[in-house]
Symmetry: C2
Subunit: 187 residues, 2 copies
Amino acid sequence: MSREQIVAGAADMIRRRGLNATSIREVAKHAGTPLGSTYHYFPGGKNQLATEAVRLSAEIVTRVLDKKLRQGPAEGVRAFFGLWREVVAGTDFQAGCPVVAVAVEEAAHPEALAASAEAFRAWSRQLAESLEQHGVEARRAAQLATLVVGAAEGAVVMCRAQRSIQPLDDVAAELTALLESVISART
Amino acid sequence: MSREQIVAGAADMIRRRGLNATSIREVAKHAGTPLGSTYHYFPGGKNQLATEAVRLSAEIVTRVLDKKLRQGPAEGVRAFFGLWREVVAGTDFQAGCPVVAVAVEEAAHPEALAASAEAFRAWSRQLAESLEQHGVEARRAAQLATLVVGAAEGAVVMCRAQRSIQPLDDVAAELTALLESVISART
């Protein structure tokens, strides 16, 4: 089991159970790695492992956004919602977003919380830059980007509670239409 | 300490720490109530207490929406965001939404999760009905209502992570403008 696989296992546990219910011991067990070597890989313990789990998840989304935004903001947003749809539907509503999971528990793990803030910022920045490239002024672009990230994350939570993919699909439909109308008004 | 005060204390703990980190013992201590009488009030234990905490929080929001939506959908949405702004800014980014907290942890408390789903549904329904009364067709009204609820909840999480109220303000500005334009196109 590689170091990255342990981090991926931790991310999966966090997005399902939350940070509080995720222990190094459980992550090691899940990965089939001795506890000792898990601590060897992650001397900073749970805070380090959670931080890396958040960063890995952030990076996966960033890569997809990076690629899809080349086809325009609406395509990027569609891919962003597609990712979340896959997570939620693919786990029968058992998993959500590890970045959210870390942010909704009292800040016992400040480094992981900072990684969570950075993930939201990075995704928002990518979306905002793409909107600016399509003629949207900077302030409005930032505002729309925050709306996309926030609405997707909130819809993921609603889907899990309602055991239905409808909230994500509703929000994706509204936001792709909104972005397309904002962009077409400028070109 | 009244029964309702214990429930309110549980809701506060859940919206700060998450459900997993909230125990009946801690809630009783927080409320200054003997553990025995807490179990007397809530024979169903943590599941019952969490369920009632989610319902109480849902009801508080429902009452505000009910009142403010009489002045129109945009006014209702402004009040909805105002509530979340107060929670997040008023607790120095330490508290979020207990309905979300319950939904992001693996379903160990099915009754509480069902109450969480019902809370999202109730708020969405209130907003959708108000939009319909202002000329928006039913399907679109439902879609916009889900966007408002999801985006507010996601923005709360982003605010906590980033220790900034900006995400909520950005999302509120976008959504009140969107609703006003949808409604004015129909009147």
